[in-house]
């Protein structure tokens, strides 16, 4: 990744956008009362867009910076560990699926959403040493699939609309 001023500025703008989306998402009340941790995943629109437009390393830097800053600004230190585990697993899986080039943006988004939950649950199981938390995975995966489809469609539209913009 060549770092010039243009790229640094761009990544800053993308990180800021992802942060704002995290903030907006935190304002939205839980969609399912029984699973308050379920979120739509708005920041993932930015991550997917950067992954497609600028590549894995740029998406990684935006994602990690967003998680750290989100923890510092709106969350707490403990939550950062879970978020980071989710964000990293999600991004790695999305990059791999994108590389296979057999699936569209929607599938990349869905797998990213499911992996985000898996990463968080895995971190929770390791930290709390309680396998019972794995029981949440099926319900979380179904919710992640639905939100992943929505985010995937939004991301696909964004990528398509900004196709001609050179960055």
């Amino acid at each position: 990744m060549k770092l010039n001023i243009k790229k640094i500025t761009l990544l800053g703008v993308f990180t800021a956008t992802a942060l704002i989306l995290s903030y907006i998402e935190a304002l939205i009340p839980p969609i399912f009362a029984a699973l308050p941790m379920v979120k739509i995943g708005l920041p993932n629109i930015v991550i997917i867009f950067v992954l497609y437009k600028l590549g894995f390393k740029s998406a990684l830097s935006v994602s990690v910076t967003r998680v750290l800053m989100n923890g510092l600004l709106f969350g707490n230190a403990v939550a950062v560990i879970y978020s980071l585990a989710g964000a990293l697993l999600s991004l790695v899986l999305m990059a791999l699926i994108k590389k296979i080039n057999a699936f569209s943006v929607v599938a990349v988004s869905v797998l990213g959403a499911v992996a985000h939950n898996l990463g968080q649950v895995a971190a929770a199981v390791i930290i709390m040493q309680t396998a019972a938390i794995f029981g949440l995975v099926p319900a979380l995966s179904i919710a992640a699939t639905l939100s992943g489809i929505i985010i995937g469609l939004v991301s696909a539209t964004t990528i398509k609309l900004l196709k001609n913009i050179k960055i």
Binding site: P36, A79, F103
Partner: protein
């Protein structure tokens, strides 16, 4: 355009596959029996057990994280009614009553789970 159509079909198959596996997991994990015991674990250690048939209210302290949650058992359901963590997710989870259901408080490393 033809390639695009093929991608959508593959997407569809993948999404169905994830939903099917999740649904299967859901059926296997939720035995849907009425639970009898409430087990509280903090930091991976089971620290307390309560009967779901005896109404009670207990303050649970997590020494390592310096946090506390209040567990309420009423009408054979368990819920966290107050917590001093920032996200309050345990409280928003509401009441649980079936075997295998959990209430998780990540900041306090506290898990409330139901057993038969």
């Amino acid at each position: 355009m033809k390639k695009f159509g093929k991608k959508i079909l593959l997407d569809f198959i993948l999404i169905l596959l994830i939903l099917a596996v999740s649904a299967l997991g859901f059926v296997f994990l939720n035995k849907n029996g009425k639970a009898k015991t409430v087990v509280v674990s903090i930091n991976g250690q089971d620290v307390a057990k309560y009967s779901l048939n005896v109404d009670t209210e207990v303050l649970l302290n997590s020494p390592e994280t310096n946090g506390s949650n209040t567990l309420k058992i009423e009408n054979s359901t368990a819920s966290i009614i107050s917590a001093d963590c920032p996200d309050q997710i345990c409280q928003k989870t509401g009441a649980i009553k079936n075997i295998g259901e959990t209430i998780v408080c990540l900041p306090h490393k506290l898990v409330v789970r139901l057993e038969g």
